[in-house]
Symmetry: C2
Subunit: 220 residues, 2 copies
Amino acid sequence: MQSFTEENYLKTIYHLAEKSSSVQTNAIAEQLQTKPASVTDMIKKLAEKGLVDYIKYQGVSLTTNGRLAAIDIVRKHRLWEVFLVDKLNFKWDEVHDVAEELEHIKSVDLIERLDEFLGFPKSDPHGDPIPDKNGRFAKTQFIKLIDLKINDLGTITGVSQHSSAFLKHLEKLGLTLGKEIEVKDITDFDGSVELLIANKPVNISREVAKHILISNNDKI
Amino acid sequence: MQSFTEENYLKTIYHLAEKSSSVQTNAIAEQLQTKPASVTDMIKKLAEKGLVDYIKYQGVSLTTNGRLAAIDIVRKHRLWEVFLVDKLNFKWDEVHDVAEELEHIKSVDLIERLDEFLGFPKSDPHGDPIPDKNGRFAKTQFIKLIDLKINDLGTITGVSQHSSAFLKHLEKLGLTLGKEIEVKDITDFDGSVELLIANKPVNISREVAKHILISNNDKI
DNA sequence: TTTTATTTTTAGGTAAATCTAAAAATTTTT
DNA sequence: AAAAATTTTTAGATTTACCTAAAAATAAAA
Ligand SMILES: [Mn+2]
Ligand SMILES: [Mn+2]
Ligand SMILES: [Mn+2]
Ligand SMILES: [Mn+2]
């Protein structure tokens, strides 16, 4: 059984490892708003518990046990987010912080029943996949909106940025999950993207387009 | 804002104060499964924060702020218990431990929405009243089943013992909330009580009868 | 390939919440 | 009222998760 803090470290290492296989001390420290020295301490502890592989100065990676533990936290986090949005009518930009707390509640039974109550959802309010109780989930092939070409069609199925500011911005533009979009133009001047959503034209910056994930059903 | 541990102390002091106005160090220690020396330390801290009144060797009592904080935890605990039973189909003897964790989730918005989602329940699965967001709740006048006389009628509206063993026992005997009972006899030999529930005779020990709370609608 | 900059680790310390053992205060019993 | 028992507090340690400052290792630049 891991402590609240250990769980947060495992989850952070898991998420950082999705980008680069070996995770660096400073990256963990920044993510967890703590100091590199503290990270080194905790990494040693997790290594002793067999949850991470660690070679001094060489970064850290999760062991099989560590990965399973991390995925379990991710599962809880995402199920709670679904609960907050589907049942308690939170907006998708309001759920992250509360889920950060709820994910640490320790009861296997609770999370199985919650999963059932929610109808065994496959993805959370941000389009992220929800692992099953064995830690398995479909690794979805997403394309970034920024990588689409003019005239490409697609459906918004995820976001790679969960900040409230970003999500509220998307909401205002009508860029929510499930919406179909078409790329009409890519501006030379600033790389901003001209979209068509529900027959309405919308212009988004490169920065926004980078963090919208698309499943491209069809191309013309 | 209180820590997880401070919240547990406040809640414990609140519950103990329902029995005797001044709460003793040893009683708190026993309830929290800790040592009296640790309790003294924490009491000093809570006193400095203005949450308890404390005179050395004279026991401790909650200030107005302390009481409000304690009632807020109790409110959360009981609302989560309702959620677990009504929505996730937990049994009434399975919810306490999980609620002990959930009660510490810090989000005013969450608990307001949960309250609404549950239909603003007035009592929890054990018949205990749920305070509103201002800490107000009806102080219900309960009678212990043990104090009833032969031929008295009543409705089971609460229990003063929340252990799983006790609640499972009641369940097996059909002694659940809302059931109407009639006292048929009180055994001379061991003080056990002969009841009639749904026209069936049930015999319960004194110990059990002590912890069943009755609202006595009528007497014959 | 040195020199410089960056990253990471160690050394030593702090605060919160515990503990044990011993001292002090209070309560109960003789 | 004195002695004995109980309760409570203090003193001094321990553990967890942090920190700062300095040293060591690695990576980048000259
Ligand atoms: Mn989230
Ligand atoms: Mn999410
Ligand atoms: Mn309870
Ligand atoms: Mn209850």
